[in-house]
Symmetry: C2
Subunit: 462 residues, 2 copies
């Protein structure tokens, strides 16, 4: 791979421009208003894979958004890497908090990205990170250095639960057969502190609806005499955490994997600047489950967060109304051994149980997925570690992430293979938030690191 740096220097500008064109497509999977754009994005993925050197690429229709599958098989006796990524993006709301339009990418310098970062919805999650793999393939094919077989499975529903991908995987086990799955949809600690994600949290996402009276009421005539669905909803949600910020749903913690003191001490060695963390978020103090550090709270501990709440009059001025209904979107991040189906049921039963008599509640499960922990003594992890060491000049730190890629646990179950999470984004890249961005340096570093993984993994496997 002596010439990867040279290839990057020659093609850097084109690689950035291609990504920018891809980011212009508003492929928001959650919102039906963008369904045409999602299809456009799937076609762009197909074209990019063919251009990069895949032998065949097909777009597979599903009950939801399509899946793009491509492959380049050079020799059946060589190992096969399956690259997974997604071309759909989170909704851009709240739009007015973006400094530039979410689907008009621009490059700006930031404190952590002095060489510039591409600002756009999906820049990091996951269009930019997925596209690193396309460009890494292009390099290996163009320079005749592809050492093994490669398959790409790029979906359009990661941000809405990957329901149709699960069906596709179950129905195409042979086509998807591989020796290792490679995903770049996570982050690393810092540009000078490379890390590999070894754990993901599971997820249970639900929507709740509290119904009181059959219509909105005048708060003067009825105030104090009937259950106000918003007041009740706040009471119900508030009761889901106790005074130590532990979740109060019965049985919720029963299966939670408790780390040993030794494992926690090992985790605590990862560099973490609490003051810088607080300063970056403009908060005076962190907040969370008693007895755990910030890095533990957002990785090895389960959580319950309200992601959205609404009800009553939210316009300008004042309206003295008691709303008939109040709503919230609530997600729980889960840790290994917690089953998301079971947690969704526990939540539903508990939420229905705590509803006072004056209201009725409805819980609608949205989606979810199991958590995942990857071992670090495998060929896959070792090859990834060596690839980072070569590209970054220092050994990466294994790190559990708080995020979720629900499909990873399913891959292991259905395809019997391990996943390596090679993420190149930073926590501060604002994924899922306004002003999402992805460092140009990180983008190019990813393209540089990936071919080393191919090389080392093939060498170690054969």
């Amino acid at each position: 791979m002596q010439n990867i740096k040279e290839y990057l220097t020659t093609n850097k500008e084109r690689f950035i421009n291609e990504l920018i064109e891809f980011l212009k497509i508003p492929s928001v999977s959650a919102d039906p208003a963008f369904s045409e754009d999602v299809i456009t994005a799937s076609k762009a993925v197909k074209k990019s894979l063919l251009d990069a050197g895949c032998d065949t690429v097909e777009i597979y229709e599903t009950d939801g958004h399509p899946i793009v599958y491509g492959e380049k098989i050079i020799n059946a006796d060589l190992p096969t890497i399956l690259v997974y990524g997604h071309y759909d993006v989170q909704p851009a709301d709240p739009i007015d908090l973006w400094d530039s339009p979410p689907f008009e990418p621009i490059i700006k310098k930031t404190e952590l990205h002095p060489e510039g970062a591409v600002f756009a919805r999906g820049a990091c999650d996951d269009k930019g990170q997925m596209y690193m793999h396309v460009k890494a393939l292009e390099f290996m094919v163009q320079t005749n250095q592809l050492p093994c077989n490669v398959k790409f499975m790029i979906e359009g529903e990661e941000e809405v639960g990957s329901n149709n991908l699960a069906v596709f995987v179950a129905n195409n086990k042979e086509k998807l057969a591989n020796d290792i799955i490679l995903i770049s949809d996570t982050g690393m600690i810092a540009n000078d502190v490379p890390s590999i994600t070894t754990g993901l949290r599971g997820l249970s996402y639900v929507e709740v609806e509290v119904t009181g009276p059959n219509r909105d009421l005048h708060s003067g005539l009825y105030g104090g005499a009937v259950a106000n669905p918003i007041n009740i909803l706040t009471k119900m949600i508030a009761s889901l955490h106790d005074e130590n910020n532990r979740i109060t749903i019965p049985v919720f913690y029963d299966k939670v994997e408790e780390l040993s003191q030794k494992e926690r001490a090992e985790m605590a060695k990862a560099p973490f600047d609490l003051e810088g963390y607080q300063k970056a978020l403009h908060i005076k103090t962190v907040y969370g489950e008693k007895g755990y550090t910030t890095n533990e709270r957002n990785s090895i501990r389960p959580t319950l967060d309200v992601n959205g709440i609404w009800g009553g009059y939210t316009g300008e001025g004042a309206k003295t109304v008691i709303a008939g209904k109040a709503y919230a979107k609530i997600s729980m991040r889960l840790v290994p051994n917690q089953d998301w189906h079971e947690i969704t049921e526990l939540f539903t039963a508990h939420f229905e149980h705590i509803a006072p008599e004056g209201v009725t509640v409805k819980v609608t499960p949205h989606h979810g997925g199991q958590g995942y922990v990857t071992p670090i003594d495998t060929i896959g992890y070792k090859a990834a570690s060596k690839a980072y060491e070569t590209a970054f000049g220092k050994k990466p730190i294994p790190q559990r992430s708080g995020g979720s890629i629900p499909i990873v646990a399913l891959f292991e179950k259905e395809l019997k293979s391990k996943t390596i999470l090679m993420g190149f984004g930073l926590d501060s890249d604002a994924i899922h938030s306004p002003n999402e961005h992805f460092g140009v340096w990180n983008y190019l570093k990813g393209i540089e690191t990936i071919p080393y993984f191919y090389e080392y993994f093939t060498a170690m496997s054969t």
Copy 2:
């Protein structure tokens, strides 16, 4: 007044059509998008007062929406009645819960209004009730039976706090001098149970904002580690009531007027059908402060209700985000002796005090007003009672209402006169809610009752 029924029969259709035209103007005072319509409505009021027989009518500009003032002075030695009403209406949201467009009035029959009701925003609150006074004046002028002087003060900011009316009143005490103030902006118990409102609750309306991190965050990467403003807001709001549904703000109840057992027993005599009440609202049970009946909870007890709440992702589908901010609109209904300025300060201090360290909170007072209790041994009340008895064939019941007309306490302070609240709407008329309506029977009954009040009040006063 022998010929009022005849006059009504002759003019009924026109009276209804005129009201329908008036209701077509979307004079929503809270929303700047409707400011032109508010002006159009003020001009319609002016024209209607001139048509009805006022000698002079002027539109007074204010820092907000204009005030319409008209008068007909027949003899300085005779008593003067000041009619107050408002031509502005509540926002129509949520629009999609209306069965017909809020500003395209239609007449439909209902269980409680077998002769039909006009469905439109403002039908009852307060365009319809205000217009009864205009048509009653027309009758008295046309039939040469106006027994006293009359002044009209019709404002366009009642639904947003009447701030500019307060200034107008303070600056025009002489112009507004009167012997009694007459307002139809309340309800009565039922069409066969006439009642006169003798008390109003005060109001303090605030908006709160809870700020956590400086931007929306990914709920996986940060979930459990930073204070989620929505979770915190629900906890803070939930803590505002204790397990007996009493408000927990310190000093809040200190000045609350406690009724004697005798007074409460007197109140309990008013007909109230709890089962019918619950059935009409589709609720299994009522809910409120322990130790008080439904009729007490919504009239003689203070309350705290969330009128709107919002934050995070509220669109279709799922977004795994921790919002940077969460908001709520909160109103407190107050009882006599509670000062709304003081309560607003108590709320603000308490809400700031209970905010945990990981967030900052901002409380913005919207508007408010004092409560009011009117004595029943005055000439004004006696004349009103007799007017109802003549029109309805039965004596009206004095009743404390849970609603607020903040300006009433101010009238007493500035103009030194008492107010009579002659309301003809029903609680089920859905004021402030989708499908607001006003019974045609009630509208005509109001026009019939008002001239009797003029007659009896003049006779008793002179």
